[in-house]
């Protein structure tokens, strides 16, 4: 029992980070039809910005985190849009897929070249106490992960539904042409989505790195999980991405504990295929929203 609880709780904590990556992924897809194959690297990189600030500039952690966030938003949000995505329009098809794939190699190799190939320890954002829930150990970090990602979903949903900007972003996502006519500055709205995505990626990076460590190749695993979470949950739903993330996190652990360890990686993939074929709009998603 305690074992079951243990793996479920840990799965939730890990899954919540997949969710953060997946949410940005979903937003980008909705508002800019950009499927970002470099999303994993987007989660890998910000941790290194922080490490640079810590070890090269010798800043305190809080300042380093802010620096990391800011740099991420500029590099992975602004530059990504201006330098890679924007010039490619209207070819948001195969060329963009290829470009983002190339970008992921670029970021990976770049990081390795300029910070080194070795995994780096990343300072914990929280004291490392663990408390025990019915015999299951839960670290403060786990709780932080969960609460943050939940908070993000609530905040984002409120932002998108309650604020004018939010509604404009949604309008842009649903029908750019009409939004334009209604006087929405669609270009800017799209830019906002890119910035939000970068910020979310940075957040995910800061949350996962204390446990997962900072390494140039982290994106390979994280990226796949982000895709799967986004699609399983529902490509046109923010809370869908959350559900997807948590689901993948938990299922992965449950498979490993009770079914098979050597095929643990297979389950999320099978789930992905099944969902795409039987519910292309995801478990939580609704059939309207973007045609795929």
């Amino acid at each position: 029992m305690s074992e079951f609880l243990q793996v479920v709780l840990s799965g939730l904590a890990t899954g919540s980070i997949y969710a953060l990556a997946a949410i940005g992924f979903t937003l980008l897809w909705q508002a800019a039809q950009t499927v970002n194959f470099a999303q994993g690297e987007f989660v890998m990189l910000p941790a290194f910005f922080v490490l640079i600030a810590l070890h090269w500039f010798g800043w305190p952690l809080w300042a380093a985190l802010l620096f990391g966030l800011a740099t991420a938003v500029v590099v992975l949000g602004l530059l990504f849009k201006k330098v890679v995505v924007e010039p490619m329009l209207p070819n948001t098809g195969l060329p963009l897929i290829i470009a983002t794939m190339a970008l992921s190699i670029f970021l990976k190799e770049g990081t390795k070249k300029f910070y080194g190939a070795e995994a780096q320890p990343f300072p914990p954002l929280f004291p490392q106490e663990t408390l025990h829930v019915f015999g299951a150990a839960v670290s403060a970090q786990d709780i932080l992960n969960l609460t943050v990602s939940l908070a993000v979903v609530v905040a984002l949903t409120l932002f998108l539904n309650r604020t004018r900007t939010g509604r404009c972003i949604q309008a842009t996502a649903q029908n750019p042409a009409v939004a334009e006519i209604l006087g929405v500055k669609t270009k800017r709205m799209v830019l906002y989505t890119f910035l939000i995505n970068a910020a979310l990626a940075a957040l995910a990076s800061f949350l996962i790195s204390p446990v997962y460590l900072a390494k140039f190749s982290n994106g390979e695993t994280l990226g796949i999980f982000a895709f799967i979470a986004a699609i399983v949950g529902g490509f046109n739903q923010i809370r869908g991405a959350l559900v997807g993330g948590l689901l993948i996190g938990v299922l992965d652990n449950l498979t490993a504990t009770y079914i098979t360890t050597s095929y643990r990686a297979a389950l999320p993939l099978v789930l992905l295929i099944v969902v795409i074929l039987w519910r292309p709009y995801g478990l939580v998603g609704t059939s309207e929203g973007r045609e795929v």
Partner: protein, 325 residues
């Protein structure tokens, strides 16, 4: 002029293929072989992606299926041809099956399904040790001998590869200029219109996957005697991406695109090796630039130049229509 020039140039190309390995080191010949082999796989993907417009990120896993079948059979003492045929057959069937998702979803979603499939194949080939040798893979596969003419010598094997390459390419050329090729393009350009003109788009989608995969099978059947070692990692997702890169960089939907692409993807890193740790960085940056400035690939650049020189650049009327809808 055109009519006469073309066969001449083809002959020149053929001649280059024949003289290329002469006096070269084993390493260069090895590179040429892998260029030819990956070209075959890319030619296949080009049919699925370039002509029929169905994206697939699983081409490497089909190379794997071909390679493993060939390896297992040849190690069991069967002739290479048998292993190759079995591999190609399996790829055709599995490819057909992988085509079904394409009937339901397109674009990115199809990319994800095939991506997942590729990783699943990797897991199976790693875990089913009894069949595939697990993580250690299979090694020391014998090289084929043609009518008692052994290909153990690197150069001999090269010519053997050239032969297989030419036959495969010729067959594909036949396909793409047959009415099938025209129907594939129609499917890519406008499936609904194609369907309304009596083109059975469902069947066409499946067959596009099947044939494309079968080509990967041929490539795989050549990989195992060339490298004489295969392991699950040799057919991981990253290799599927490489093949995709070949097709797109070369120019999807152009017959010679994938071969040109393979030259770039396999030989450019070699040329950039002197930059040491930087070559992957430069390489990936170059790809991004290409996609930004010429999404239709290198051959696209050529076409663009021709338009620049020849006739005036045209505006895509279907884009205008798009604006009206």
């Amino acid at each position: 002029m055109r009519a006469t020039l073309r066969p001449v140039l083809l002959l020149v190309g053929l001649a280059v293929l024949i003289v290329a390995p002469l006096g070269e080191s084993n390493y260069v010949i090895y590179l040429l072989c892998s260029w030819l082999i990956f070209s075959i796989a890319a030619i296949g993907l080009n049919l699925t992606l370039g002509y029929a417009g169905q994206i697939s990120l699983a081409q490497a896993s089909f190379m794997g299926i071909g390679a493993y079948s060939t390896a297992i059979l040849t190690l069991a003492g069967w002739p290479w041809v048998v292993g190759m045929l079995l591999g190609v057959f399996l790829c055709f069937i599995v490819g057909l099956a992988l085509g079904f998702p394409a009937l339901r979803v397109k674009g990115h979603f199809l990319a994800f399904v095939t991506l997942a499939f590729n990783t699943l194949v990797f897991l199976v080939s790693r875990n089913e040790e009894w069949l595939t040798g697990g993580t250690y893979g299979l090694s020391n596969m014998p090289r084929p001998s043609l009518f008692g003419f052994s290909t153990d010598n690197q150069t001999h094997f090269y010519y053997f590869t050239v032969l297989v390459f030419l036959v495969s390419a010729a067959l594909m050329y036949g396909i793409v200029r047959s009415p099938w090729g025209r129907a594939f393009k129609a499917l890519r350009e406008n499936p609904i219109r194609a369907e309304s003109l009596g083109v059975d788009t469902r069947w066409l989608t499946l067959i596009a996957f099947a044939i494309g995969s079968a080509y990967a099978g041929i490539a795989g059947a050549l990989v195992s005697p060339l490298v004489q070692y295969i392991d699950p990692g040799s057919f991981a997702l990253v290799h599927s991406l490489r093949i995709l890169l070949m097709v797109v960089v070369g120019g999807a939907g152009f017959f010679f695109g994938p071969m040109l692409g393979a030259v770039i993807v396999i030989l450019l890193p070699e040329a950039l090796r002197f930059t040491e740790g930087y070559y992957l960085i430069i390489y990936s940056a170059a790809v991004i630039a290409l996609m930004v400035f010429c999404p239709s690939g290198l051959i696209g650049i050529w076409g663009r130049l021709r338009d620049r020189l020849g006739r005036k650049p045209e505006t895509r009327a279907d884009m205008q229509a798009g604006a009206q809808l």
